[in-house]
Structures are given as C-alpha cells and as structure tokens.
Amino acid sequence: MCENSKHAPRPGHHRNAAAPPLGLVYALLLLPVAFVLTFNYIPAASAIYHAFTAWDPGAPSRWVGLSNFIELSSDPVFLKSLLNLLKLGTFVFIVNLSVPFAVAEMIFHLKSERWSYLCRVAVVLPMIVPGVVVYMLWQYIYSDAGIVTELLTALGLHDWVYGWLSHPKTALWAVACVGFPFANGFNVLIYYAGLTNIPASVLEAAELDGLGALGRIYRVHVPLILAQIKLLVVLTVIGVVNGFESVYILTKDGGPGYETMVPGLYMYLNGFNYERMGYACAIGLLMLLFLLGFTVSLNRFVRTDEYQPEE
C-alpha cells in the first residue's frame, strides 16, 4: 500500500502533455524567485548571522559568539520587557479570544440573515482605519483633553483623572486596553465561519437534547470550532510577540521608565536608536525561535483539521 501511494502520480504530473520548454518555465520563475531571495532570504540569513556579532551602523560587524545572548540573559531592560510582554500578552490573549467569540455567538444567534450580515459588516468596518491612526486616536483618548478625562470629570470622579499613559502604575494597562471593547472584526469573522460550518443536524440534536444556550456553546460549539480557535491562538500570540506599533505610538520609548517596554520595541530601539544592531538581531532571533517553537508544539499537541477559509 505504501509503495502504491509512493508511485501514484502526483496531481499535476500527468498534465505534462504539451508543456512549454523548460527554459521558458525557469525564465518566468526567475524574477519571483530572485525577489524572495533578495528581500527575504538574504535578510533572514543576515539576521541569524548578525545575532552573533557586534554590529554598529557604518562599521563592519565583528563575530562575538554567544555574548549577545549572555548579555541579554542579565539585561534588566530586556527582562523587564519580557515581564511586560507576559502581562500584556495574557490580557490581550484573553480578551482578543473571548470577546470576538461572544460577538460571533451573538451574531450567530440572530435569526435574520440580513441582520447577521449587517452586523458582520459592522464589526469589519473599523478595519478601514489604519492601525497607526487607531493608536493615535487612543493616545488622544487617554490625553488631558481626552475622552477618559472628560468622562471621569463629568461623572465627578476627579480623583481618578490623571495621566493614564504616563503614570508607572497604569501605563501598561492603558496600552493593554487600547481597542476596547476588543471586538476584533477579523477574529469575529473567523469564529463565525467556524460556527456556520457546524452541520445543522448537530445543532438540532443539541437542541432536542435539551441543552441550554450555554451548554450548547460549551459542549457543541467550542469542540467543533477548535480549528478556528487554534488558528486564532497562533495568530494572537504571533501578533502580541511581534507587535510594538501600539507602544511605539503611545509611549514612544517604552516609558515611563521601562514600564511599557516590550521585546519588539527594545529590538527596534537597539537597532535604530542605540546603534547596537547585532544586539537587536539577537533579540529578533530569540523572538523568532520562541514563535516557531510555540507554533510547532501547538500543531503537534493540538491536532485539528486544516482550517478552510470560508465566506
């Protein structure tokens, strides 16, 4: 049997009847491949190599072995950034997976297809605003003349009015709350696609068994959209680990102090402000290894069917 499948023609193999000359095929592939090599493979190789070097802008790099990594292991700012990432990541992870799920369930429960579609359009609509502008808007919301301040003043909570983004106690949580109420349109659509893929017969059976709404969600919906949940877990973790645009816009340098410093921003600052490009590459490599390890182990331990994009 094994042998059989080995010799089975691959899809596309039999289509060779009147193939164009090989030279033409390779010529057509030349430019796309050259692009990937030039702008993806060379920087990737450079990133790995330079993680083991001392590399200042304008000077040739010098091989230093593992010393970047040794320094990182006791760099207080880097360790602080990891702690911040853990706090921020846990919060973002929870809200970005749960709120969109709740919203997708609510939309799924709407009887009218028309309203359901309108609601999906509505949750996606905010995506037309560029991310940078969303962060700038939230920077304003937290500012002295911002919505939070005005709201608290209007409610008579004068004691609560202070610089949410500039106070060491609140800065990280202010960053975490950007995007409230976290009804991320992309996540909602993914969950919703999963819910609509559940066969109607399964849903009816659950209803006939007398499961209440919560029971149906917990025992029927969640197990049947595990593939979507896993996908969003991976995407959220990648997004959180890589993402530092929000911090860059909101606090510029991870301040006050290093209260909002995250590894991505620290990498950026080392590369472009502190002139320590080798050190920055080492941080990037650690982040990449973490993400690869996470994705691979999640794929190994949580087996689900392949996610199929659906309208």
Binding site: V123, V133, M267
Partner: protein, 286 residues
C-alpha cells in the same frame, strides 16, 4: 413534564434572544463610539471642541478637511501609488508562478514552492534591522522601490499559495481544449485561467492592499523625505505639525484621521463581500 420544560425553554429562549441582541448592540456601540467621536469632532473648531465636547454642534466646520487634505494629499498619493504598484506586481508574479506550478511539473518545482511558502512563517518585523541595513547597502533608501520591491517579494507568497491551489482545481479539459486550438502557455493563462481566477485575484488584491496600506514600521525606518512618504508615517508628522496633542487644533487633527480612513473606506464600499472574504483568506498567513 416534557411540555412544561418546552414552554419554559421557549420563554427562556425569548429572554435570551433579547439578551443576545442587547449584548451585541452594546458591543457595537462601544466599538463605534471612538470613531463616531472622531468624525463628530472633525467638524468642530477648537472652541466648540472644548465647550461642547460630547455633542455635535452648529455651525459645522468642513474647512478643517480642506486644511487637512492640503497637508496630507502627497502622503495619500504616495500610499495609493505604492499600494497599486505592489498589488500589480504581486498579482502578476503569483498568477504566473501559481499557474506554472499547478499545470506543469518540472525539476525543482516543489523545492521552489516550499522555499517560497516557508517565508510565510517568518514575520518580517523580526528582520527589520538586517532588512534595513541591506536595502541601505543596495542604495534604495528614500525611494518608492524600497517599499514596493519588498512588498512584492513578501506578498506574492500568499498569492502563489492561493492561486496554485485554485489553478490545480480547474478542470484540465478547459486548458486542453485551448491547447488543441493552438493556444500557447500565455494564451491559455490569459484567455482561460485568468477569467476563471478573478475572484481569487480579488481576494489576493484585497489582502495585499490591507497589508501594504497599513504597514507602518517599514516605511518609518526606510523613508524620511516627504516626496516618497506614505500616509501611515505622514499622519504622524501631520499630528506633530499641528503641535502634538497639547494645545492641538483638534478639529483639523481629527479631519486628518478621517481622511486617512477614506481610501480603504472606498475600497470597502465598492467590494464589501470580497473584502470580508479577503480578510479571512489572509488567515493562511499564519
């Protein structure tokens, strides 16, 4: 007993239905409030902004948009140009490679395919520093090319995946018929493949457009002159020129923010269904 619980659950159903809908309404309200506030405030002058903070107020000041547009029009032009060039490149590259790899087998096909697909695994942001050093070495800083070329390189990969899958599913008889009629590779692609692939191409275009349009960090580090600056970086400068957040001319600031959302808003209005489909197809990027 059975009947009783049925009735009970029907009543509970009505209540929970109401609960679902009001929850949904509340979430949507909270989601849209900052955006509503942004649009509302963009029509106020500074005095109105401070003195009637929560409510829309008469007279409106559309001239805020004139000021904002005057200041931001080159950023918009650059963003549109960079996005259009990148999408064109992505579509051409991924169509040709996807078609060839789906229809013909040749030595090295799978190596090249997986070699390109592997790049979906590595987030570009982690290579920000070495990528910057490399394009600097290539002398590309502060050009359109420094954005367009890497965007094409990275964006074609998802397109290749989607289009190879798509072309692989098309019934071979269609192409064979064209071949019998004497059509070569290019005419088969142009007259048979492309018309069928339109929906997939639309999805690739929209996913790419979102990625390119919203990219901030790459243009931030690779461009500094106003001539090539794109909207995401430009809007930050625009805000700084208005005096930052303190003592800012808020009406004009918000007008600028609204303007930055209009181009994607137009795309969204013109192709809502494809836009929604495109967003989830981008999930393959994991």
């Amino acid at each position: 007993m059975q009947r009783l619980s049925r009735e009970k659950s029907a009543r509970a159903g009505r209540w929970s239905g109401l609960l679902w809908r009001s929850g949904l309404f509340a979430v949507l309200l909270l989601t849209f409030f900052p955006l509503f506030f942004m649009v509302m405030s963009s029509f106020k002058d500074t005095y109105q902004f401070y003195h009637s903070f929560w409510a829309p107020v008469w007279p409106v000041h559309p001239e805020n948009y004139g000021v904002a547009f005057e200041d931001m029009k080159y950023y918009i032009f650059n963003s549109v140009l960079v996005t259009a060039l990148s999408i064109s490149g992505i579509l051409v590259f991924s169509t040709v490679t996807g078609f060839l790899m789906a229809r013909y087998s040749f030595p090295g096909r799978e190596v090249i395919f997986y070699g390109m697909i592997a790049m979906l695994m590595i987030p570009g942001v982690l290579m920000l520093v070495p990528s910057f050093a490399w394009v600097q070495q290539l002398g590309l800083l502060d050009t359109y090319a420094v954005m367009v070329l890497p965007y094409i390189a990275g964006g074609q990969v998802l397109g290749l995946y989607l289009l190879r899958t798509f072309f692989g599913q098309i019934d071979n008889a269609l192409f064979e018929a064209a071949q019998v009629d004497g059509a070569g590779v290019f005419r088969q692609l142009w007259h048979v493949g492309l018309p069928l692939a339109k929906p997939v191409l639309g999805v690739v275009a929209i996913v790419s457009a979102l990625g390119v349009w919203n990219n901030f960090l790459w243009p931030l580090v690779t461009t500094s002159s106003e001539e090539v600056m794109v909207l995401t970086v430009g809007v930050l400068r625009y805000q700084a020129r208005l005096g930052g957040l303190i003592g800012c001319r808020y009406g004009e600031m918000f007008a600028g923010y609204v303007i930055s959302a209009i181009p994607l808003g137009i795309l969204f209005t013109l192709s809502t269904r494809m836009f929604m489909k495109g967003i989830t197809s981008g999930a393959l990027k994991a």
